[in-house]
Point group: C2
Chain length 301, copies 2
């Protein structure tokens, strides 16, 4: 396929995944008629708020390489989105990043209140692990445990939350390139890598296949994060009266502040190419995943 065709096919496939995973989220978070309804409404508000559903797409597209049942993959995709949403709801809290808006809408604690947002984030995390462990997700309990362990490793004290802690602690400090790379790998990269690996776990992929998928996810996560820094810089430069990006303004070191804009962009593109390269052995079946790697470093937001 030509590049343009790939881009169109990717956009269509991502839209289809978003539709599927949102239907799954809707089913996994039914609003009860009992007094805790507000909690579940706040959870739904946090997770059913649009977004590209990049992580969900990764789960489902990798799962499709191994002919995984689509409903099973959609459940895991929904769990990753719940985990991601919990981290955003808590990140936006006044004591954390103090963001009033999320994708142009009031953030969860503005729409509801702080206590509700704390509890909604807490319960989204719980529900994510619950969904992974449910028999409907996979008929093999070993695979379900593996999913729980991989998500916990990606999101807990040695993953995303550990990265958030380092991020907070390093405001105003001068980090080295290696320190930024580790911080970003923890904070964002590991959950993206989990999303890719989850598809392979569901598909009971061979260890060689697992190796390639993990490498793809790792490079993709790195490319995604560096390009996020690039976007932060580009977007703000285009905004009248602001010359530095938000992260720079907050005193956060990024790969852009270390490498400069052009070299950071080139680094992200290189990692995206390397990501795609790890999928060679899967042939054409992996074309959309390769297109996703290129999309990651050419997106506008």
């Amino acid at each position: 396929m030509a590049h343009k065709q790939h881009t169109d096919a990717l956009a269509a496939a991502m839209a289809e995944t978003a539709r599927l995973v949102e239907a799954q989220l809707d089913a996994l978070l039914p609003v009860p008629e009992t007094a805790e309804a507000k909690l579940i409404e706040a959870m739904r508000y946090g997770v059913l708020n649009g977004g590209k559903r990049l992580r969900a797409f990764l789960v489902m597209e990798v799962a499709s390489l191994f002919a995984v049942n689509k409903t099973c993959a959609a459940r895991v995709a929904a769990a990753v989105e719940m985990l991601h949403a919990y981290s955003l709801v808590h990140d936006d809290l006044p004591a954390m990043d103090d963001d009033d808006l999320r994708r142009g809408q009031p953030s969860c604690h503005k729409k509801y209140d702080e206590a509700t947002a704390i509890l909604a984030g807490d319960a989204l995390q719980t529900r994510a692990f619950e969904v992974l462990a449910e028999p409907d997700t996979h008929d093999d309990a070993e695979a379900r445990c593996e999913l729980v362990l991989a998500l916990a490793a990606a999101s807990g004290m040695r993953g995303m939350v550990g990265g958030q802690m380092i991020d907070m602690e390093s405001e105003g400090k001068q980090l080295t390139g290696a320190e930024i790379t580790r911080l970003q790998a923890l904070k964002t990269g590991r959950l993206i890598q989990f999303a890719a690996e989850a598809g392979a776990i569901l598909g009971r992929a061979s260890s060689a296949q697992r190796h390639f998928i993990a490498a793809y996810g790792r490079e993709l996560g790195g490319a995604f994060q560096i390009y996020d820094d690039v976007l932060d810089e580009i977007a703000d430069a285009a905004t009248l009266g602001k010359t530095a990006g938000k992260d720079l303004a907050q005193g956060k070191a990024t790969m852009v502040s270390i490498l400069g804009l052009e070299r950071a962009k080139a680094q992200a593109e290189l990692m995206a190419e390397q990501a795609a390269g790890h999928l060679e052995s899967f042939g054409e079946k992996a074309d959309l995943l390769k297109a996703l790697a290129r999309f990651t470093v050419s997106r506008k937001s």
Copy 2:
């Protein structure tokens, strides 16, 4: 054994469990030399803060009925304590109950800061699920998944967090006895019931045995919560210048405000007796668990 002997044996066994589970927590939460060390220190501060370790004791004592390996049981006990600690760390936050003290020490957000306390609570929850899913906890993946599912059900949107939401929403409202019973069953009872059931899951108990253990846990959880309300009233009545309990002062309805002190106390004692009654078929092996039920409704704090 006479009553006094039971009480002494219970105190000794609870102290021994506390020692064991704290050693396990210490091992499960090693402080790294990397930049996220502060996060793990805050997690340790939240969970290694004394306490009666009632939930841990329940796990280990029920597990001992089924001759479960002690290290496996201690891991699950540690996971329950981590889950419980996460809920306390988040409950104490300014946006929630706004408590500066926990067991006479600064609460986690006072010792550290709010952002660290939010993240430490988040990571304690993750670690709890991770420990349950690890192969060292049980050699059967089905049992591990069952533990994850049971903890998620007890602590998530249809359990503890759901109960906290109802509790917040009902401040200043007049709840019925049935509504209070449901609220308390969710908020406190279900995690206590989980602790008892976890021992039976680890022991691959028969469904009849599971039934008795679940019934014991349910009645014990109810007795515990009602007696907490009783203690809240008694303790505050003894405090100079305060005539009503803290919950009453906050406009929260409790079983004491509905039933009055004496009838609430009698209700807790009845439930404790019923809890003990469910263990008849286990004979003398269950003596400490029966003593625990009586202790629950005669403790001073």
